[in-house]
């Protein structure tokens, strides 16, 4: 019988996840003077999902140049290695307690615990899987999420198929339409349930239009055909209530169906720790420091809310990293409590509450495509700030800057700050 006691480690700062968020948080914390950091990463190397995102377009904000995903990730990996920030790979975190004891396992220590001064959650997100989509028909081989196909093609060098239909026009789906085409596959259509694409305009241009791949808006896959291997899909147009219209059904032969139907922050650990989640973002509710409702537990990157650009992930992670250091040193100040609400047209904001009178950038997403609107910041009936926007779309994250003055006024009025569109 194995009676070996569970190994008990400790660290001032434990970071769960070694992707772009975790690494940027670690570097920021190091720069603030903390050395006793431990990054726990379940994959075999640092870098997270960027390792398989071989396309370019990363880093324009952060580094002022256009990098591919692996290049962007390596910039941070290099910093982590050169600064000798401790990290463990092939290590899976299984629990985080409200007292900030992190339980993890790997082949070296078996199950072990790390008592942390502060914890930063940086677990990223995962794709909405086939099971969540309720598509009728058979369950043959040849159906993958776009990200799984991306890993096969870009990291393993395998092509999942030759004739492809893609459901969902999120950025990964668009990127994979181009990638499969470049490697010789025929991408027959990208179907999008909504009347607009969830991807960036530049990706529709350079991934679909460049190769003549049709983007079929308000279309979905209604049935899957094939016994062992996928043989085809039936697609159809949907009405305003997103119900398929039978007269429009069309059979498309294909051997591969890729799903790019949304990303879900990976918050099992967060939930189990009892941290309050936002039901829109599926991430934790946080303040301007990205601190959750458990003191000393912070969240950043795609585990908090799904970002369009890794540059913003790095920016947010640095906020969390610095704030975690203030917490460890007992310098975190929480002098106010002002809620940040949205009007429905604005679907969510991050942060969702403010605990400090300081200039704060609010990130938000809108619920639909809107043109010629004014982004409006209000406290009660008082309009604190307005700015014009020609176009807002759910696929593109927006920001608005709250100044100390605005937060001070809202605090004085005793009203929540509301971000809306007029």
């Amino acid at each position: 019988m194995n009676t070996k006691a569970t190994k008990e480690l400790s660290a001032e700062l434990v970071i769960v996840g070694g992707g772009p968020a975790g690494m940027a948080a670690a570097v920021a914390a190091y720069e603030e003077g903390i050395r006793d950091i431990l990054i726990l990463e379940r994959d075999d190397n640092l870098g997270g999902i960027l390792r398989q995102c071989i396309h370019n377009g990363f880093g324009l904000h952060r580094f002022g140049e256009e990098l591919t995903g692996p290049e962007y990730a390596y910039r941070y990996e290099k910093m982590v290695r050169e600064l000798n920030i401790p990290f463990m790979t092939d290590t899976m975190v299984t629990a985080i307690s409200p007292e900030r004891v992190v339980t993890a396992q790997n082949t070296e220590y078996g199950i072990f615990t790390v008592k942390a001064g502060a914890v930063i959650l940086a677990m990223g997100c995962r794709e909405r899987p086939k099971g969540a989509l309720n598509i009728a028909g058979t369950r043959p081989a040849g159906i993958y999420t776009a990200g799984t196909a991306q890993k096969f093609v870009n990291m393993k060098g395998y092509m999942p198929g030759k004739e492809v239909v893609i459901l969902g026009s999120g950025d990964i789906g668009l990127i994979m339409a181009r990638r499969m085409t470049l490697e010789g596959a025929k991408v027959k259509a990208v179907c999008e349930l909504m009347p607009y694409s969830g991807g960036l305009a530049r990706n529709i241009e350079q991934c679909l239009n460049d190769f003549g791949i049709p983007l079929m808006l308000s279309h979905t896959v209604v049935e899957i055909h094939g016994k062992d291997r996928l043989e085809g899909v039936t697609i159809g147009k949907v009405d305003e209530a997103r119900r398929p219209i039978p007269e429009t059904f069309e059979y498309i032969p294909c051997d591969t169906l890729l799903l790019s139907c949304g990303l879900i922050p990976e918050n099992e650990l967060t939930k189990d720790a009892g941290i309050e989640l936002d039901r829109i973002t599926n991430g934790a509710v946080v303040d301007g420091d990205r601190e959750t409702d458990i003191p000393g537990v912070f969240a950043c990157g795609n585990v908090l809310h799904v970002h369009d650009l890794v540059d913003y992930v790095s920016e947010e992670a640095a906020i969390a990293g610095k704030a975690a250091v203030r917490f460890i040193r007992g310098e975190g100040k929480k002098d106010i409590s002002v809620q940040v609400k949205c009007d429905g047209k604005v679907r969510y904001t991050v942060p969702q509450r403010l605990t400090e009178i300081a200039d704060t950038r609010i990130y938000f997403r809108v619920a639909d495509v809107y043109r010629d609107m004014k982004v409006t910041v209000r406290a009660g009936d008082t309009v604190l700030y307005q700015k014009k926007k020609q176009k807002l779309a759910p696929g593109e994250m927006e920001t608005v800057e709250l100044t100390r003055d605005m937060i001070d006024k809202a605090q004085g009025l005793g009203a929540p700050i509301e971000i809306g569109l007029i």
Binding site: R51, E66, P70, E71, L182, A201, R202, I204, D308
Partner: protein, 117 residues
């Protein structure tokens, strides 16, 4: 006079551009761009569209390393460049920035590694 509508692909903002074209297809003016790179993009796109190609290359060990063209290449040559990349076997131990194919098909662009082999 002809107007061509474009989506700028230089950065994630994706500006909606309008290029005013003359008789011979030359670009007379560009609007809708929020930065000077958008203007350059519109002019290139109407006269000689260019793209950066990103892909992967097989190494001797069988591992896969990601790569890209070191600068943009004519859009019409994308598939020719892909063929060159796919018939290349790179050496093991590549580092980011290492040249895998020099001046691919005379485009002036090298194929360089974007991950560590």
């Amino acid at each position: 006079m002809k107007i061509r509508e474009l989506t700028c692909i230089v950065c994630p903002r994706g500006c909606a551009l309008k290029a005013e074209l003359g008789e011979g297809g030359e670009v007379l003016s560009v609007s809708g761009n929020l930065c000077p790179r958008g203007k350059t993009y519109a002019i290139d796109e109407c006269t000689n569209p260019m793209r950066v190609v990103t892909s992967t290359v097989r190494c001797e060990s069988g591992a896969v390393v990601s790569c890209k063209t070191s600068r943009s290449i004519p859009k019409g040559m994308i598939f020719d460049v892909m063929k060159e990349i796919n018939r290349t076997v790179a050496c093991d131990g590549l580092k980011i920035g290492d040249v895998i194919i020099e001046n691919v098909l005379g485009t002036g662009a090298d194929i360089i590694a974007t991950s560590m082999g």
